[in-house]
Assembly symmetry: C2
Amino acid sequence: MADKDNTAALRELLAPYARRAEAALVRRLVEPGTPETLADALRYCMLGAGKRLRPALVWMTAEAITGSDAEGDALLERAAVAVELIHGYSLVHDDLPAMDDDDLRRGRPTVHVRFGEAMAILVGDALLTRAFGVLAEGVGDADGLTVGALSGILAHAAGGAGMIAGQVADMGLCDLPDGLDGVRYIHRHKTAALIRAAAEMGALCGAADEPQFEAVRRWAERLGLVFQAVDDLLDATASAEQLGKTPGKDAPAGKRSALTQLGVAALRARIDEMTREAIEALSPLARRARKLRELTERLARRSH
Amino acid sequence: MADKDNTAALRELLAPYARRAEAALVRRLVEPGTPETLADALRYCMLGAGKRLRPALVWMTAEAITGSDAEGDALLERAAVAVELIHGYSLVHDDLPAMDDDDLRRGRPTVHVRFGEAMAILVGDALLTRAFGVLAEGVGDADGLTVGALSGILAHAAGGAGMIAGQVADMGLCDLPDGLDGVRYIHRHKTAALIRAAAEMGALCGAADEPQFEAVRRWAERLGLVFQAVDDLLDATASAEQLGKTPGKDAPAGKRSALTQLGVAALRARIDEMTREAIEALSPLARRARKLRELTERLARRSH
């Protein structure tokens, strides 16, 4: 019952941002001149599903800094769309047969199952490229330095020292420290880097000062780790219907997860500890961080 | 003999730019924090080989606009590196088993043959992301508007309405006009878009005025078509040793090429005609375009 309340409340908290994200993606996803078959595949994987957590983080962080509603801010919308495009590309490529070989995503056949492997590779490439295109086109909406800085934050988080490093590690393609340190490396790079980038981009658009920016950075880093640790927990305990993807993929593949390293009870305790740290990190933002605190607590307790 | 002279002269023309490109790539390819295995694969596919035509186009176009040597210009170096990273990523992904399934590139095993398919996908993703990261970091070297505009030109040329559209078409994944129009669509998107972007980025860094910019655009578009048409011709007539990749891949795969549409003599005539048009387009740049004219003529007559 508490789980169901939390799920409903989390959905309600994210709903206005999910609506904004959907509308913005409809407008900005497909560049004019894109072949219709590619456009169909892009829409298939990007529209009508997904929590839109990362766009929500862009907007909510900016609103926590400025104290005012960010709807209609063109630069923030670009940042929100760009982060979600990066997230979408990473899912499409991670699901490929040569990577995690997953057939199910958000309750639907994955892009390579639906459109073939070649198209799935190209869809991922197109989403990744479009993310930077959407930002770059913002030189009309904002000063160039901010646009460049947003692009730099995103490229660093998504790149070979960020999210891609996490996937390299998760695929067993590089050396890792033993035990929990190895798991932390994967979580920090594969998931937390982009979540942190979303929050940083929101803070940048909101013209955060240095202490505010540092608070956002510390909070978002921990939030990303909490988010991935909960994912590990759910992967072992939830059903495919709840997850919208194939559960239990990690253990048989011999992948490292926080769960196999810690067990359920210790992982739950670690999630609680990181959640407390995340919320403490928000203290410089005082009352304006109310929604960010609620989001953090609800994400830590989510059941899918 | 004429062929050998042309090959040597083309190499000599490009050599100083190839050296610059190599040095710049060594400096900027691998972000600190990249796993060593990924860094090795990035270096394997990006260093020590390649004509560096696209970086050369960035620098040569800027020099044709400004009339002065562009060596040491940090922004131009970023633009040159970014274009070559996009070119490199496209080769790695195009060679994948699910795409063209090529084993040989620049005389060496392709990335997926050497490092496995998962790593090859991630290498391509990392190169594509790094291209925009290298540009974005340039907000310290130049005004933000120029950086944003460079990123926009590159994202458009490389994206779903540009290079990726060309690969979608080349893979037979979208409808195409019959005959030569279909071939032109593939050439214009798959090859000419990025070649034109390289020249446009050089013109932008060189602060070209509108007539100069338009001249560059018209020239580079035709140069890209010439380049790809010569590729088609060589694919049918040259050996693997000359090409450094597997020749004759296009005909058996049932792919459209200008050659299968036109035959050797008509294709040669078309190359000559487009070469004349390309050189005519340069007339607004007068004497400063001397090197660009030479490059155009030599690329049209290249034998590998």
